[in-house]
Symmetry: C2
Subunit: 213 residues, 2 copies
């Protein structure tokens, strides 16, 4: 399979979920290269193994290795790359910039708060007590971010004016897992309406069945 990209993911991760949902939803218009999926067990230390670090010295997933051997990190950059040439990629320059704005917002205001709070309360709860102070900060800062997103989504059906796009997938990645991180999404009604809209898109599949497949 020299003509295939390889996407390394880990089960249950909101960041790994993003490029997987792009692959589910991009339809037949995507790039010619197929994408094979390799599941890596972060909790078992596989991302710190010599073989994985040789691929990606940062030891992070998701990670993409192109058919010609080039590496690409950052979940939102991978999702962007896999969306090029499909209906998920905004065609207008301003809409692309809007998509980027919210994909950067996701990585700075949502993911850094929701992801660790979810990890220590949902995935390794035996370690949660060591992070009591961190939880206060994650919940405080995460609620600020969710309130900004909620206000934005009160005005429009999707994250950017293009319509449903890679930016919705990126922002949805951890937002839809916020309940598992101890956030009450009932406080953010426009996010709830938007999440239902995302789930209604053709090809949608949730994080768990998708990643355990």
């Amino acid at each position: 399979m020299r003509d295939a990209h390889t996407l390394y993911i880990t089960a249950g991760s909101g960041n790994s979920f993003k490029p997987m949902l792009v692959l589910r939803q991009r339809g037949d218009a995507g790039p010619a290269e197929k994408v094979r999926i390799r599941s890596v067990d972060v909790l078992a230390g596989e991302t710190r193994s010599a073989s994985f670090l040789a691929l990606n010295p940062r030891g992070q997933v998701p990670f993409l290795v192109t058919a010609d051997g080039k590496g690409l990190g950052e979940s939102n950059a991978i999702a962007w790359f896999l969306s090029e040439g499909t209906a998920l990629m905004p065609a207008e320059p301003f809409h692309r910039a809007q998509a980027l704005q919210w994909m950067i917002f996701e990585q700075t205001a949502l993911e850094p708060n929701i992801s660790p709070a979810r990890f220590f309360s949902h995935i390794v709860p035996q370690l949660a007590a060591e992070h009591a102070d961190d939880f206060l900060r994650w919940h405080r800062d995460g609620c600020v971010g969710l309130a900004v997103l909620d206000a934005h989504l009160r005005q429009r059906p999707f994250v950017c004016d293009h319509g449903y796009s890679v930016a919705d997938i990126a922002v949805y990645g951890y937002t839809h897992l916020a309940g598992e991180a101890g956030f009450d999404l009932a406080d953010f009604p426009a996010i709830g309406v938007w999440m239902a809209r995302v789930r209604a898109q053709p090809g949608y599949l949730g994080v768990t069945p998708l990643l355990s497949a």
Copy 2:
């Protein structure tokens, strides 16, 4: 000037510097719309004024208002938008994704550490003592990020394989100010070589004269 975008910036900010450097370096190939610059005094509270919050409810600069009245936040998204159609924007999809990877890295691994450390040690040093614990974290995490960037730049002349791009401008924004944040950039020699390369690009102008002009 209805045919002009308006870019709101603040003097001395690494984030505001990025779209300003794009405007200096994009040449004549850029979008038709002119960009007028409005300087906002953050320290004097102008980003919290009712008139500015009506433009951008998040109260942040840089912020762009397009000629047709649409708002765009996030320094790297603004830099991206202003680079569309110019030599600063990678033409190849993989190169665009690489650019995004490092622009997201900049906002998650560099800016959140270098920017506050610089703010409290260089801009409002009278408040630095209140942040002693934060400085330890900013310097520890910032050095991790700078080491990743240094290793990357040992392999190549610019951040992405396209050549000099908007990603170099975005990453340079705060990296070149790290000395003012208490980082010793002599520890990262490949970054030093790359910064000299950025400064040698046509149209380069440093953060202070550019923003005080």
